[in-house]
């Protein structure tokens, strides 16, 4: 008998461009980004780190609601997002609010989403995206549909979707990558492997050595990328996008990353399942530190640049939270009106009932 598992697994080596010291170790795949674009990537990562810190603080003050911290995952989130175009469609998980923001979601709406206000999900026509998905993996089957629709329309666009390591255990994960493969639909499936699905380590999630290798079973390309290296994530996503719009089918990208914070701000305590040593090991890989070193070496980033972005972010956040705080409260009649295009009989009756209550 010929056993191929080890052989197949050995082919999935982690793709990296910058090492932890910000040195280019894979020149061949260095993406073709201008100095301005490199600086913009750094600006977005710094801004998003500040947004995360402020969001955690605002949550603790009770001014925000549901919040899933993002620090540590900036390279995975923003590097992949940087490779897509304005007309591409994003299907995020609930930690993937930064990608929506950089695709054009106003900050105050991101805060309204966190507070649990439906206006946070009312996107303009220009923002091609679904609101963050709460059910783990459901966005994967939907991404296959968005991508098939783009293919049928003859668009040169992609659907990009995000889940985590835990998400790859879901049936919808397999159904999504398999459907997209069967239709050779232009989809990009990102798995941010931050090593823990709330508390369960990835080693307990699956016998697979990599999550990227799950692509093989679906007959699609899969790649494991250093998710703390923004250039590697960008390059892998750009390659996936180029192939997708060229009719070469979907790609599964596993980004090896880490969330520095808790799962969400709803009572999760990472010290129950993660060691200090592991935290420290991953802090050394901080995507911001690495990319900053790289840019400083090229004289493209300075402390003044950094401080300017921090101030810009703080100012924006202050304005946005003020707007979110003052936003009109939701009414039951709003909910009734957003259920259907035309109100069915039961809701017509209930609308009258609640209009009367609300006018008291």
């Amino acid at each position: 008998m010929k056993h191929v598992l080890k052989d197949v697994e050995s082919k999935f080596e982690m793709f990296q461009i910058l090492n932890e010291d910000g040195e280019v170790v894979n020149k061949e795949f260095m993406p073709d980004l201008s100095d301005d674009e490199l600086r913009e990537l750094m600006r977005r990562m710094v801004y998003t780190r500040i947004l995360d810190q402020r969001s955690i603080a605002l949550n603790r003050q009770g001014r925000l609601g549901f919040y899933a911290p993002t620090a540590g995952q900036e390279a995975s989130q923003l590097g992949s997002h940087f490779a897509i175009e304005k007309e591409d469609f994003i299907l995020p998980g609930y930690r993937d609010v930064p990608q929506l923001i950089w695709q054009g979601l106003p900050l105050y709406q991101a805060f309204l989403f966190s507070k649990g206000h439906f206006h946070g999900n009312q996107y303009t026509e220009e923002l091609q995206a679904f609101a963050p998905q709460i059910i783990i993996g459901a966005q994967y089957v939907q991404a296959a549909g968005v991508a098939l629709g783009m293919k049928l329309r003859g668009k040169k666009n992609v659907a990009i979707t995000y889940t985590g390591d835990g998400g790859t255990s879901q049936g919808d994960f397999y159904e999504g990558i398999n459907f997209a493969g069967a239709y050779q639909a232009p989809a990009i499936f990102i798995v941010q492997n931050n090593r823990f699905a709330i508390s369960v380590p990835v080693e307990k999630q699956t016998a697979a050595k990599t999550l990227a290798q799950k692509a093989v079973a679906a007959g699609i390309e899969g790649i494991q990328v250093d998710g703390m290296d923004v250039l590697a994530v960008y390059a892998a996503t750009k390659d996936a996008r180029d192939r997708a719009v060229n009719g070469e089918g979907p790609t599964l990208i596993e980004t090896m990353t880490y969330r520095f914070g808790p799962h969400t701000m709803s009572g999760d305590d990472p010290t129950r399942y993660r060691s200090d040593d592991l935290d420290k090991e991953w802090e050394k890989k901080d995507p911001l530190v690495r990319f900053r070193k790289f840019l400083e070496g090229k004289k493209l980033w300075s402390e003044e640049d950094e401080n300017r972005v921090i101030e810009e972010a703080k100012e924006d956040i202050k304005e946005a939270i003020k707007k979110a705080d003052q936003y009109p409260k939701q009414k039951v009649t709003d909910f009734i009106n957003y259920m259907n295009e035309e109100l069915p009989l039961n809701l017509q009756e209930q609308l009258k009932e609640y209009e009367a209550k609300e006018s008291k």
Binding site: F89, V141, Q142, G145, F179
Partner: protein, 325 residues
């Protein structure tokens, strides 16, 4: 006019809308070249091409997700779930996702999806094919649930469902697929969703049913007429939302009601209908609202279907109880 079975009328409705609207897509397991396991999509792929009518991989959640995604690109998906017993596999896509698209996005996205599925007992299927699971979806806000009982209505209701800009679950009782033919216009027409139909007029008792049970109720009404009891038969046609206007008008006339469903008794459509009647018309009632349902067991194995499924005799018995209360 042509004589059509219900399955032919359903095919005709899909053909009509595939012709009318280039955004309509029909897909599911075996619906392409094979024309569906019940031949509901017979000839449609040959007529409209593989981009409009196509097979999917064998995964119901994937089919539901595909529909939701396709809608973002301006399509009007008409997915088939091969048997409604496979609802559990696609429950998240239907009840957790497409039913909430408009609400979740504050009206900026919607899911103009018609999920078609065969269901219903009496045709000796294996387990989890025949179950009446309409109650599970009828309880889900954001879904309309339509169950036709005749070929003519199947065509008109399915065209309405496909044109609806919100998700509709369209359930086709397997026993009715080929049980009889009737005149069905070849041209297009619609029947409004959410409107019941009075299938027989009567003054003594109101029988409320849907799907195959409409025919059991009509048979019971024939038998009751021989004893001088004139039963009015209402076909709900849509089990969510329910047309209480038609029901209450009838109850005010007959003062006696039996609600009939093929599904088990616990919760479900008949329970909701009975509750609404007593809230809206208790002073018009001369007797409690009784139900004819299947018992609260798992749907039986095929050989025992006849002893388990409600039939016209059960209906006659309950009518006699409300008449003699």
């Amino acid at each position: 006019m042509a004589q059509m079975t219900m399955i032919q009328a359903i095919t005709d409705a899909m053909r009509t809308e595939l012709k009318n609207d280039p955004n309509v897509l029909v897909f599911g397991e075996d619906v392409g070249q094979n024309g569906g396991v019940f031949r509901a999509t017979e000839g449609l792929q040959a007529e409209f091409g593989e981009e409009r009518v196509f097979d999917t991989p064998l995964a119901e959640s994937g089919i539901g997700g595909l529909a939701i995604g396709l809608a973002t690109q301006g399509y009007r998906p008409v997915p088939e779930i091969q048997f409604f017993g496979f609802l559990f596999e696609v429950m998240d896509s239907i009840a957790g996702q497409m039913s909430r698209t408009r609400f979740r996005s504050g009206g900026t996205h919607h899911s103009p999806i018609t999920v078609r599925a065969p269901f219903g007992g009496g045709v000796r299927t294996p387990e989890l094919h025949a179950d009446s699971l309409e109650g599970l979806v009828a309880q889900t806000p954001g879904l309309k649930v339509v169950i036709p009982s005749t070929p003519y209505e199947a065509k008109g209701l399915l065209i309405s469902a496909i044109r609806d800009n919100d998700p509709v679950v369209f359930l086709e009782h397997m026993k009715l697929y080929r049980s009889f033919r009737e005149e069905v216009p070849e041209e297009e027409y619609t029947i409004p969703i959410g409107k019941a139909a009075v299938k027989r007029e009567g003054k003594d008792v109101t029988l409320i049913a849907y799907g195959a049970m409409v025919h059991a109720a009509l048979k019971a009404a024939d038998e009751l007429a021989e004893d001088g009891i004139e039963a009015e038969v209402i076909d709900l046609r849509t089990v969510s939302p329910v047309d209480y206007e038609t029901i209450i008008t009838s109850v005010e006339k007959t003062n006696r009601v039996v609600v009939i469903q093929e599904a088990q008794r616990q919760a479900g459509v008949a329970a909701a209908v009975a509750a609404e009647i007593q809230e809206r018309a208790i002073l018009h009632l001369e007797a409690p609202v009784l139900r004819v349902t299947a018992p609260d067991t798992v749907y039986p194995f095929a050989e025992a279907e006849e002893v388990w499924l409600p039939n016209h005799k059960d209906i006659v018995e309950k009518v006699n109880q409300v008449i003699n209360f």
